[in-house]
Structure formats: structure tokens, C-alpha cells
């Protein structure tokens, strides 16, 4: 982190969760009505080829997750945390609750209650999700953990936690969700430590030799994010409108004055529709990303505005076999202005990026064996990402799994193509209690 040393330490970091913990501690222990669950999950993974910038092992970790739910009269208090031993990091003691580093990762610590009959409030650390895509996100600008996703941790880890106030209102006209994050919750982005990536400044693949340590947006109540959703039934479908005020979630900008990557301002507006169509489920979603620092698209250090669109359809194609297909489009605004500023036009992004996805899920042996394949394929980038996985439920406690993340691409500089050397296979086991 390249902010002024000590500056962040002055701010009580887990401020809201801390208050909740204090409130909980004040409750007499005998009055607590608590449920405790969790799991121990061990995984190991290897790269399927040599990566000059990364370790041969892609994953080697054991985690204990404890999940407690306490009923406090009309309110519920949830605490869910992971205790992690990661054999691939050198500094086990360094805990960073923002990017998930270290032996302790707080997933949830929140209080949920209804201030009035027609509203709910969830305050504290929580996982937030909305939108209609399957592993594609347009209006869900809540933080994602791309490292976990690409390295083959459980899919739940794709969602990184937010420290937020989540308020919902339910008037007759529809439902409103309003989310306030007093300090930006960035993606746990690909930074080169565990996954190599295309570095546009170097015009080359990079990894541990060029770790991105972006300027954090860490000023409380200034570097804040606001996300809103309105949803209601519409012609037999579920319709939703979205708005977001905050930042690009991964450090897509570059600040030449300090020579570092940062999170430029972003507003987003969108809409979605989802519901049954024929014997399946259809969805469509669109969004406009207003890159507020570069509306003309001329600043080469700030991403241009974009329009994004997707449509999908899922249905059962045979007994215990489900298929889901999606089309996804990113359309860069002011592409000519963007091209004028890139270091090399050959490696520049296209104006249109098209992606097709296909999910196949087959359930066998009384649903105890689940085989899945999720494929991303971009005809415009000429690259693809395959996610095969197998999960076997040995009994009510034990699960075994195998999965792979395989990337291929014609070029090193495309979205999936850049990860080719990170292709990996994983094995794991989980004991749930």
C-alpha cells in the first residue's frame, strides 16, 4: 500500500463490526440462542504447465470456517470467519481483512433486524449479491475475489465481503434495496502474487516480478460506495433497476503522478428481467458504466465508459442434466479515442468484446455425484476458460472434489488468454459440521 504510513491505522478498521461485537458481548451469555456450524476444507492444486512468474503449486491450504447465528429477540446476529493455513504464503501472521491476506478472513459479522414492519436493515460485514447472470456480473458491483475463483477455491469465495449498511423497503409498488459502503470494498483483484497477468505497461506477461499494489480507496465516508436496486414483478417476470456510485472494482486506472494503479470513479445504471420462458429460465440484463474521470475517453490512464449486455437461458435438457447458455457483450465507448492513447494498437482491446458461456450440470448417484463444466468462450478475443468440476458427497459430512481452471487463447493480452500459464488442477476434501 502506498498511502501515507500510519494514516489508515488511525481509523478503527472494523468499526461497524466492532460495535456489533461489543453489543453482543453485552448480552448475558445464558440468554443466547446460538447455532454453530462450519467446515474444514483442504485443497491442493498444481499448474498444468510452467509459469515463469509464479509457483508451480497454485493452491495448498486448509481452512476452518466457523459460522454462528444468534437470535437476539427480533434480531439475528451472524458471525462467519475462516481460519486459514496457506502453505504458499511466507508471512502467515499478516492479516488484512480487506484483501483477505493472512490466517484470518472475516466473511460476515452483522446484525439483521426490522426497524419498521416494512423495512429490514443489515449492518456490518456481509456478502452481497444481485443481478441475473451466471458467473457474469453487470449490475452486481459488490466485491469479487478473482484469485479464489481462478485458483479453484469453492465458488462461494468468488464473493468477497462488504462492510455495509444494507436497507430494504417493501412498499406496495415494489422492493427497494439501498446499500451504503462507507469505505470502498474493492475486488480481491489479480495482482500478480498468485496469478500472472498481462501487464499493459510492460506489454508482457507479468506476475511476482510486477505485483500490483494499487492505491487503496480507504478514506471513511469519502471513498464510499452506494448501490441501489428496485425490483418488482413485471408481466410475469421479475424486473429490476439498478444504480451504483463508486469506483471501478479492480484497479483499472493508472495515476502517473505517483506511478501506481488506482480505482477510478465509476457510476453505473442498469436493468434486468428474469423469469420462466417455455420450460426454462430466461434472463436479460444491461448496464451502462459511466467512467466519470474520462467521459470523453481520451485519457489513456482511465478506462473508457462502457455499455454491457447479457442474455441467458437455462433448462433441464434431460433427467438430471441441466444446461445454461449466456451471451455477454462489452461495448467500449469512444474506442477511437482509446486507440489514440494505447502503447500498442496490436494489443489493444476491441470495441466489442463478445463472450458466450455454457454451463452443463449432471447429477448422478442420487445427486451425491455432481459433474459440471462451465465454459467461457470469446469469439472476438479468440480465447476460452474451461471450469470442469466434480463433487462427491461421501456422506452427510464428507465431500470430495476435483476441479480445473483451464485457459487457452491465441494472444497473451486478451482477457482469458493472459491466464494461460495459470491453468491448474485441484483436489480437495471438506468435512462439514
Amino acid at each position: 500500500m502506498k498511502t501515507v504510513p500510519g494514516k489508515t491505522a488511525l481509523v478503527p478498521k472494523p468499526m461497524v463490526p466492532g460495535l456489533l461485537a461489543a453489543a453482543l458481548a453485552a448480552m448475558p451469555a445464558a440468554a443466547l440462542d446460538t447455532e454453530l456450524h462450519g467446515f474444514v476444507d483442504a485443497r491442493g492444486g498444481m499448474r498444468t504447465q510452467n509459469d515463469p512468474h509464479e509457483d508451480e503449486r497454485s493452491l495448498a491450504e486448509t481452512r476452518l470456517q466457523l459460522d454462528s447465528l444468534t437470535y437476539l429477540g427480533p434480531a439475528t446476529f451472524q458471525a462467519r470467519a475462516d481460519f486459514v493455513y496457506d502453505d504458499l504464503v511466507s508471512d502467515h501472521g499478516k492479516v488484512d481483512l480487506e484483501n483477505g491476506d493472512g490466517f484470518f478472513d472475516l466473511r460476515e459479522l452483522n446484525l439483521l433486524f426490522s426497524p419498521t414492519a416494512g423495512s429490514d436493515l443489515k449492518i456490518g460485514r456481509q456478502i452481497l449479491t444481485w443481478g441475473t447472470g451466471d458467473l457474469l456480473f453487470i449490475n452486481d458491483l459488490f466485491p469479487k475475489d478473482w484469485n479464489s475463483f481462478l485458483l479453484g477455491r469453492d465458488e462461494e469465495y468468488l464473493k468477497a465481503p462488504s462492510d455495509a449498511l444494507f436497507a430494504s423497503f417493501f412498499p406496495a409498488i415494489g422492493s427497494f434495496d439501498l446499500t451504503y459502503m462507507p469505505r470502498m470494498d474493492a475486488d480481491r483483484y489479480v495482482d500478480g502474487r498468485r496469478i500472472s497477468y498481462w501487464n499493459p505497461a510492460q506489454q508482457a506477461l507479468a506476475g511476482q516480478n510486477a505485483v500490483i499494489d494499487a492505491e487503496r480507496r480507504d478514506e471513511w465516508f469519502q471513498d464510499h460506495e452506494i448501490a441501489a436496486r428496485f425490483y418488482r414483478p413485471l408481466l410475469g417476470y421479475e424486473g429490476a433497476l439498478y444504480a451504483y456510485h463508486g469506483f471501478w472494482k479492480s484497479p483499472a486506472g493508472f495515476d502517473p503522478s505517483v506511478g501506481n494503479a488506482y480505482f477510478p470513479n465509476l457510476n453505473a445504471y442498469g436493468a434486468s428481467l428474469q423469469g420462466s420462458l417455455g420450460s426454462g429460465i430466461a434472463n436479460a440484463e444491461a448496464g451502462y458504466y459511466d467512467s466519470r474521470e474520462d467521459r470523453s475517453g481520451t485519457n489513456p490512464f482511465v478506462p473508457n465508459s462502457e455499455a454491457r449486455f447479457m442474455a441467458g437461458y437455462e433448462r433441464e435438457v434431460a433427467k438430471d442434466l441441466t444446461a445454461g447458455a449466456q451471451y455477454y457483450l462489452e461495448w467500449m465507448m469512444d474506442h477511437d479515442a482509446y486507440l489514440a492513447g494505447v502503447p500498442d494498437r496490436d494489443t489493444a482491446r476491441d470495441e466489442f468484446r463478445h463472450v458466450l458461456t455454457l454451463r452443463l450440470t449432471r447429477m448422478l448417484m442420487n445427486q451425491n455425484l455432481v459433474l459440471g463444466l462451465f465454459t467461457f468462450y470469446s469469439p472476438s478475443d479468440n480465447d476460452a476458460y474451461f471450469r470442469p468440476n466434480a463433487t462427491y458427497k461421501l456422506n452427510d459430512h464428507w465431500q470430495l472434489f476435483a476441479n480445473a481452471n483451464l485457459f487457452i487463447g491465441e494472444h497473451d493480452y486478451t482477457f482469458f488468454g493472459q491466464f494461460e500459464d495459470n491453468s491448474n488442477v485441484n483436489l480437495g476434501a471438506r468435512y462439514s459440521f
Binding site: S276, E314, D396
Partner: protein
Amino acid sequence: MEKWIAALAAIAATTVACAEPSVDDIVNKANEAAYYTGDDGRAEVEMTITDGKGGTRTRKFTILRKDTEGGNQKFYVYFKEPADLYKQVFLVWKETADGKDDSRWMWLPALNLKRSIAPGDKRTSFVGSDFVYEDVSGRNLKEDEHELVESTDTQYVVKNTPKKPGDVEFSYYTVRIDKETFLPRKAEYYDKNGKLYRIVEATRVETIQGFPTVTESVVKDLNTGGSTVNAFSNVQYDIGLDENIFTERFLRRPPREVTK
């Protein structure tokens, strides 16, 4: 005198024949008794799945049901066990009108995600058990042709033949319906070769709030040798459930009716 007796017997026979309800009445009443008791209901379910090799798995969940207009219903199923299903919710809006499919969703708490389930095949296994989704919310009566094939002292036997045989794995099934309570007591499914392969049986019936209620049911799959037992406890009817419980709001915030 004998004439009188014969006449009376004839009248009695006619009366009995008239008292024998039509097959549509029988299946309607059986459907009411099995799935529409009271205006709403709640039950805790312990499901024990035994596979063909004797291995067992257990699921515990609470189920809420509310009847809405036109025979439609809403179901809220909150899982407590096993640990990997803990806090997941299965939500169903059952639609009985022609050409309308049920809406089904799963709530995945770790992802904070409401996932729609494709309406498709309702005869897939419910959470890995020998019960299928359709056993949980009830098969739409309009899907089958019904025929009264037998009437014993205590039971009606109704044969049900699917109107769209391609949509289901059975060629027909028979249901034995209790004459007194109209509860379906035993259903036997026959495959496309006419062989019995699946039996669903109500193995315990208790009267709760005046309603005869199945408190234990068993399904046996004769092909795999597997079976599943559902044991119902703390059954309550007419508890005044708010229809709002069956919406996204209460997926995010499971109501006390299921968590307590």
C-alpha cells in the same frame, strides 16, 4: 313382505350406488386431504434416505405452506441439516392453472444468492431422496386421467394414467384412498413395461387439530433397493402465515416460523 324387503334392498342399493362418489370427487377430496389441510400449515420434517447398500443420509427441514387463490399454493422449505444444506431455502409457488408452470427458487446463503430453478422436470429427486419434487407439492390432477378400479370396504383404488406419457417415467400409478378420511394411503407406480417399481405409503396417520394428517410416509424404489422415510413433527394448521413470507425478503431473513 318379501316384496317389501326386496324393494327396500333395491332402494338401499340405489342409495349406496348414489353415495359412491364419482372418481373426480374422490381424487379432488384426496388432493384436498393430502395437500390443502387448513388455510396454511407448518411441519418439521426429518428425512432419512437409505441407499440400496444400507448407507443412510439425513435431512432436517421445516416446511411452511400457504394456500392462495384458485388452488395455488406457496411452500417455504428451510434446511437445518445436513451441514452443507444448512440455511438453504427452497421456495415454490405452485400454479394449478392450465399451461402455467410452478416457480421454484433456491436461496444459497453463503453467496447471498436467489437462484431460479428451471421448471422442467418435476420428477427429479428432491434433495437426493427417493421423493421427487412433485411428491412434495403435489401432482396436478389435470396431468392424469383418473379411473376408479376398485372399491373395498375401507378404500377406493384409483388408477391414474398420464395424459402426456413422454413427460414422466411411469406408465400409470394406482392410489389407495381411505374412504373415511380421503387420505391417500398407498401409491404404486408401474414402469413402461407394466412392472411395479415404486411405492409411496402413508405409514402413520394422526389427527391434528381435527385434521387426519400423515405423520410418516415412506417411499421405496424397488429398482435400486433404496428408500426414504419422512417423519413429520410439530404439525400445525391455520397459524395465520403472512403471504409475504414466501418472497425474496424472507429468503434473506428466514422467519421465526422456520428457524425456531
